[in-house]
């Protein structure tokens, strides 16, 4: 048995670099969120003055929108895998719409908190930690939406094809991560911390 020929037949498969990179990014981002969540939990009830978390209302509608966007993006991934570009475009559009609704919901919540309840980031520790944590998540939604719209523009220009399925799936990983983080933020801020 010669050295090279014995080897040539062996299959050689490596993980996709996009997936490895996105998973690495997600690990790093998780550490950022962990620090902000820990700070939020540690500072619960330590504000010396001003409004407390009782003024929050649980954003059920927002949460349902964001979580269902994970389902719609999953359907979009399936569609592109099978090369059904039109179905892909509509599921992708729905995902973006749900993300925008979520952001709009956050905006109205913040408007109420700032103008009605008088809570801004300077008011007290609760304000600082609340706007930082929820704002950090919202920033991630915004970044995600920018990436999604980039794909949407390319889709509408007819540049997205079946062979791009893997890249789309890598991007979707990020969106799933943003949704998963919301579950944590939602639980900590609106359920446990209230």
């Amino acid at each position: 048995m010669s050295a090279t020929s014995a080897f040539a037949g062996e299959p050689w498969r490596l993980p996709s670099r996009g997936r490895v990179a996105m998973l690495s990014l997600i690990v790093g981002e998780s550490a950022i969120f962990t620090i902000f969540v820990v700070a939020y939990i540690y500072y619960i009830g330590r504000s010396t003055c001003g409004p407390s978390p009782q003024i929050l209302e649980v954003p059920w509608f927002n949460t349902i929108c964001l979580l269902s966007s994970s389902v719609s993006i999953l359907l979009a991934e399936r569609a592109i895998e099978r090369g059904r570009i039109r179905a892909f475009a509509s599921w992708w559009g729905l995902t973006m719409l749900l993300g925008i609704v979520f952001l709009a919901g956050t905006a109205t919540e913040w408007k109420r908190l700032i103008w009605t309840d008088g809570l801004d980031i300077r008011t007290n520790l609760f304000g600082t930690t609340f706007y930082s944590l929820v704002g950090l998540h919202a920033t991630h939604v915004v970044v995600g939406l920018l990436m999604l719209s980039l794909v949407m523009i390319f889709t509408l220009l007819g540049r997205v094809e079946e062979r791009h399925a893997e890249r789309i799936q890598v991007l979707s990983l990020y969106w799933h991560f943003v949704d998963a983080v919301w579950v944590v933020v939602f639980t900590v801020v609106y359920i446990v911390g209230r």
């Binding site: 050295a3 080897f7 670099r17 996009g18 490895v20 990179a21 790093g28 330590r46 520790l125």
Partner: protein
């Protein structure tokens, strides 16, 4: 300049001024996405800042050489030691590991480039501009009021000193924002390294056949992912406090300074492992080649590296024994810190076992690695002493601590990277560094290092606190401080010899050939310097020492390896 047209297409200097040629050459370096060029940029950048931060250290040592010295004002002294620490960790340490990582990881795993070449360039330029931003503070902070505006809050920047009320002006902002920018660069480099090592390996390069340097870059990058990011998060909080009026670390509004300490050291302690792990990787490449033996206990080395990375995540509060934690926390962090000794001990035994019975050649890289073994052992032992909480209460923030971490960062990290420069310089440039100058560099640096940092241990035990800009003559620290400073100057001379060696050998050095050390990893199978595409045909690997298999077809490694 020849004034007749040469029949060679693109002949030098024809119809183009020298300035334009220089500009074009610079342009190729700015737009490059080649991992080797970016690696060189990282390394040159790190060496430049090594000189800058080294000069700051020299100023500090001249200031402390005699009591009641007034060479540096207290304010400038604070700026210098803050900038020395920040520069050495972020601009020298992190850039050196990713410089060598960039250059070597693709070559060692038989790939043609990193997984994401453009991300690679982006990461480098983020780090580079972060460093420039940090140093711009010297002139940008308060305008041009003398030297009054560099960050001066120490490199760990404890709250509430960093709050607006106590640090007005912009120097702390420069510190925080520069580190956020560099943090993004580092994160990109870490992601890229991981994706390269996992997804770009050549045929047959299974995970357990990767060279140990690649393994340790993988472990260090994975650690970076969860270590640099908490720092970024904490810096964002600090910026929120300073610019938006937040209260994270504002003790008067219920915020907590201790939380900053936790967040900072959750970054800060694993960070030193991020730095030292690639240094271990270098030792694991150099020691076998110069002992003429395969590395002893390869799987144990891999397991120990991963073990160090995990344990390193649970030791941070040993920096905080003096703030009054509960006994349970003190005990936990003392024990977890001591546990680091187990995997590092395994590694030291394996390196010694590799040398044992080997045919050792004491070329300059091997000299540095041998000194590293000894010094890292000492650093580990003082580390275990400081892990004992009551001992730490006595010596916290003294020169004993300064001596301990310089033993790890200079005595281990810097020594290994000097070894790396001597070992891989022939591959990078095609020319050998001068052995004579190398020996001078080693012995002067070695002697200077021990004069400086051995003596600092005694100063610490005699009660000299760190971060003080001067001291009274009746403290009994005068002679020892003079010895420390003289040792520092000897190290400076040694580093200047290295710089001269690098420059002179680049022009006049002996030609290196492909494989000057008779080594076994894939990078030595390419020409020196390697062509842009690295490998003309994709290599195929059957063992951990592919070049050994080629050089010794009668006795290849793959017959014996598991």
């Amino acid at each position: 300049m020849a004034d007749q047209t040469l029949p060679i297409p693109g002949a030098l200097g024809v119809g183009r001024s020298r300035g334009a040629a220089l500009l074009e050459w610079l342009h190729t370096w700015v737009i490059t996405v080649d991992h080797k060029k970016l690696g060189i940029l990282y390394i040159v950048y790190a060496l430049f800042f090594l000189l800058v931060a080294g000069s700051e250290a020299m100023a500090i040592r001249i200031q402390l050489a005699i009591p009641n010295n007034h060479l540096l004002s207290p304010e400038l002294y604070n700026e210098f030691f803050t900038m020395h620490g920040t520069t050495m960790v972020f601009l020298v340490g992190m850039t050196l590991i990713f410089g060598f990582g960039n250059y070597l990881v693709p070559l060692m795993i038989g790939a043609r480039d990193m997984a994401f070449p453009r991300l690679n360039a982006f990461s480098f330029w983020m780090s580079a501009f972060g460093g420039l931003l940090l140093y711009f503070s010297f002139i940008g902070g308060f305008g041009l009021y003398g030297m009054g505006a560099a960050p001066d809050v120490t490199w760990w920047a404890y709250a509430p000193l960093t709050e607006r009320a106590f640090s007005p002006g912009h120097n702390t902002d420069y510190w925080a924002i520069a580190l956020i920018v560099m943090g993004f660069g580092t994160l990109g480099a870490a992601i890229n390294t991981l994706a390269t090592a996992f997804s770009m390996r050549c045929r047959g390069m299974t995970l357990l056949r990767m060279p140990l340097f690649v393994w340790l870059m993988v472990v260090a990058s994975a650690d970076t992912l969860i270590v640099i990011t908490p720092l970024t998060a904490a810096q964002v909080m600090l910026i929120i406090d300073r610019y938006l009026g937040g209260h994270f670390f504002d003790t008067q509004a219920g915020g907590s300074a201790t939380v900053w300490m936790h967040f900072f050291w959750i970054f800060g302690h694993p960070e030193v492992y991020v730095l030292i792990l690639p240094a271990f990787g270098i030792a694991s490449e150099v020691i076998p080649v110069f002992s003429r033996k395969a590395i002893f206990g390869y799987p144990a080395m891999v397991a120990a590296s991963v073990g160090i990375a995990f344990v390193s995540l649970s030791v941070w509060a040993h920096h905080m024994f003096t703030i009054g934690m509960t006994s349970a926390s003190n005990a936990f962090f003392a024990l977890s810190t001591m546990m680091v000794g187990i995997p590092t001990g395994i590694k030291i035994f394996n390196w010694v076992a590799t040398m044992w019975g080997g045919k050792i050649r004491f070329a300059t890289p091997m000299l540095f690695c041998t000194a590293f073994l000894f010094q890292f052992l000492c650093a580990g032992l003082t580390g275990i002493m400081l892990a004992v909480a009551p001992w730490d209460w006595q010596l916290h923030n003294s020169y004993f601590v300064v001596a301990h971490f310089h033993y790890t960062l200079t005595g281990s990290f810097v020594f290994c990277f000097f070894a790396a420069i001597y070992y891989w310089y022939p591959k990078i440039t095609g020319r050998m560094l001068s052995e004579t100058l190398g020996k001078w560099h080693f012995w002067l640096f070695f002697i200077g290092f021990h004069m400086t940092f051995d003596t600092m241990h005694f100063l610490g035990i005699l009660g000299m606190p760190r971060s003080i800009y001067t001291y009274e003559p009746d403290r009994g620290w005068t002679t020892l401080n003079m010895i420390v400073s003289v040792g520092g100057l000897i190290q400076a001379v040694a580093v200047l010899i290295l710089v001269w060696n690098i420059v002179d050998s680049y022009m006049h050095g002996r030609s290196a050939g492909n494989d000057p050390w008779d080594a076994w990893t894939l990078e030595w199978s390419t020409p020196s310097p390697p062509p842009p595409y690295n490998f003309a045909t994709e290599p195929v690997v059957r063992s951990r020492r592919p070049l050994w298999d080629i050089k010794h077809p009668e006795d290849p490694d793959w017959k014996y390896e598991l």
